[in-house]
Amino acid sequence: MKKNFTLTVFEKASVCRHFENEVFKRVSNREINFPVYLSAGQEYAPATIAGIVERKKIKPLIFGQHRGHSIYLSFGGNIVKLIKELKGKKDGCTYGMGGSLSIHSNEINMFGHDGFMGSNACIGTGACFSSKKPTIIFIGDAALEEDYVLASLSWVSKKKLPILFVVDDNNYAVLTKKDDRRDWKAKELAKAFKITSFDLKDDPKKIYNNINKYLFKKPMLINIHTNRIFWHAGAGKDKEKIFDRYLQQKKLLGKRGEIIDKKIGKKIKLLWEKS
C-alpha cells in the first residue's frame, strides 16, 4: 500500500464530515426541511473504497442507497452541486428533484436511488450485467435483508459479474438492531452464494489489504462496520458516546490531520454560505 493512501482517504472523509456538519446545522435551523440522511461516522466506508478505485484509475458505476452524501463526495461528486441540490435548486446534482435521498450524478456515474431500500442491488446488478462495467453497490445492513437483494447476490455470483457490494453496516434499521432482525452475517450469506466476502471494521488499511487484489475481477462483498453519529434521519444524536473513526484517524495523522481538517472545514463552510 502506498504511503499517502491514508491521507487521501482522510481528506475525502474530512470533506464528508464537514459537509454533514454543515447540513446538520441547516436541518436544525429548518433551513432544510425535508428528510435528510446524514452519514457522519460512516464516511470511512465510501472514502476508502473511492480511494482504492481512484488508485486503480477505474471509474465504476455507483449505485448508492438513501444515505448517499458521503458516497457522492468521496467519488468526486461536485460539492457545490450537492449543496444546491439540498437547497432545492435546479442546478443541483439531481436538478433539485433528488433532495438528500436520491442523489444522482452523470459525471461520476452515480445513479439516483428511488427510496425502496435495496432496489439499487437489483438495478446495479442489471446495469453491470448489460454493460460489464465495474460496479459498486452500497447498501445498508438492513437493506441486505430484502429478498430481492438476496436474489441479486445469487445472480451476480451465477454470472460472475465485476461487482463490489459494500454493506455499510451501522447495525441499525432506523433504530432496530441487527440482533433483533436476523441471526446470520453478511459475510456468511455471501459465502453461501459463493461470493468472496469480508467482514471488516472501517479501517482503511484493512479494507485496502483485503479487497485491492481481486476488486472487480470477481464478485465481492465487503461488510464494513461503521458508526452512525446522527439520527437515522434529521439532525440529532441517539447516543453521546460513540466510536468515531474520523477523529481516530485525525489523531493518528497528528498535526497533518489537524491542518487538513481545519482547512477543509473552512472551505466547506464558505461553500455552503456562497452556494
Binding site: F111, F116, S119, C122, I123, T125, G126, A127, S130, Y148
Partner: protein, 303 residues
C-alpha cells in the same frame, strides 16, 4: 393466409436484438414453447436472457439494463406477475427520465390469457400499474398495430407496457373502426374483448341495431380523437367499453375520460369483482359476444 401476429412479434424481436445489441429478459423463455412462438430461438449469447425465479429482482435487473441504454424487452408471461415484476420498473425506470434525466426505456411484453387458469395467471392486470407516471400502455392485437407500437417505442424515452393477449397471436387480420353515421351505441373494446365485440356488433346489426365500434389500442396516454367525440355525441345511447381486466380498474378511468369529453353515458363491462376459481364453473372471464349483446340490449331498454 396472412402472417400471424406471433410471427410479427418474433421478427420484431429478432431485428431489435440485432440492431440495438439489445436483450430480451424473462423467465422460462427458452424452455417453454418460446413464449407461445413469439420469440426467436436464440440464447444468452444472442441476447435472450433467462432470469432466475426472482420476480422482484428480475424487474430491477431489467431496469439496470435499460439504464445502460440497451432498450431491453421484458417478457412477463402472465400479467398477474405484474405485482412482483413491475415494482422497480414503475418506481425507477418510469421515473428515471423525469427525476434523473436518465432515459430508461423498456418494452414490457405482458401477456394476458384466460380460461381455467386461475386468479393469478388469468386475465389482464394492467390496472395495477396504470396510474404510474412515465409509463405508456398499449394493447395491440394485430400485426399493424404491433408494428406501429414498436416503432413508437424505438423513438421514445419511456417505458412501454405492451399488453398482449395469447388469443391474438394467431390473428392475421386487422380491425377497423366504424363511426360513420348516427349510431345507437358505440362499443369501445380493449384487448381480447375486441374480437368478441366485433362478433357482438355483427349480431346486433343483424337484429337492426346501429352499432359503432372504436378499437382501443393506445391506453396511456389515452387520446380521444375529435372524430370519436363527434360520433359518440351523435349516438343515441353513448358507449359501452369492454375489457379483460377488472371493471373497477383502468376501464372505469377510461370510461370517465370519455364521459368528460362527450357528456354521454359510458357503461363498462369487464371482469367481475370476484376471484376466479380454476374450474369453468367458477372462472371469472372477460365478456364474450353474448355478454356484450345482452349488455347493449339492457342499456338500450333502460333508456
Amino acid at each position: 393466409m396472412g402472417k400471424e401476429l406471433r410471427d410479427t412479434i418474433k421478427d420484431i424481436t429478432h431485428r431489435h436484438l440485432k440492431k440495438f445489441k439489445s436483450q430480451v429478459f424473462g423467465q422460462n423463455l427458452t424452455g417453454v414453447g418460446w413464449v407461445a412462438g413469439t420469440l426467436p430461438k436464440l440464447f444468452e449469447k444472442d441476447g435472450v436472457i433467462e432470469l432466475p425465479m426472482a420476480d422482484v429482482a428480475g424487474g430491477g435487473i431489467v431496469t439496470g439494463s435499460a439504464l445502460m441504454g440497451k432498450r431491453p424487452i421484458y417478457i412477463i408471461r402472465y400479467q398477474g406477475y405484474n405485482w412482483f415484476n413491475c415494482i422497480f420498473i414503475v418506481n425507477y425506470a418510469c421515473k428515471s427520465n423525469e427525476i434523473w434525466r436518465m432515459p430508461c426505456p423498456i418494452m414490457i411484453r405482458g401477456i394476458a390469457s384466460e380460461g381455467s387458469i386461475g386468479p393469478v395467471a388469468g386475465s389482464a392486470h394492467i390496472s395495477i400499474v396504470y396510474k404510474m407516471p412515465g409509463l405508456k400502455i398499449f394493447s395491440p392485437m394485430t400485426n399493424k398495430e404491433y408494428i406501429n407500437t414498436y416503432k413508437k417505442f424505438i423513438k421514445s424515452k419511456d417505458v412501454f407496457y405492451i399488453s398482449e393477449h395469447r388469443h391474438s397471436y394467431s390473428n392475421t387480420s386487422e380491425f377497423k373502426n366504424d363511426i360513420i353515421g348516427k349510431k345507437d351505441i358505440i362499443l369501445m373494446p380493449i384487448s381480447v374483448t375486441r374480437f368478441e365485440a366485433e362478433k357482438a356488433k355483427n349480431e346486433l346489426q343483424q337484429k337492426g341495431f346501429k352499432v359503432g365500434i372504436i378499437h382501443l389500442v393506445n391506453l396511456k396516454p389515452f387520446e380521444i380523437k375529435q372524430s370519436w367525440v363527434k360520433a359518440i355525441k351523435k349516438s343515441k345511447f353513448g358507449v359501452l367499453m369492454t375489457d379483460n381486466d377488472y371493471k373497477d380498474g383502468i376501464l372505469r378511468v377510461l370510461a370517465h375520460k370519455v364521459y368528460e369529453k362527450t357528456n354521454k353515458n359510458v357503461s363498462v363491462i369487464g371482469l367481475k369483482d370476484k376471484s376466479a376459481g380454476h374450474h369453468r364453473k367458477v372462472d371469472n372471464l372477460p365478456p364474450n359476444k353474448n355478454d356484450i349483446v345482452q349488455m347493449v340490449k339492457s342499456i338500450i331498454k333502460k333508456k
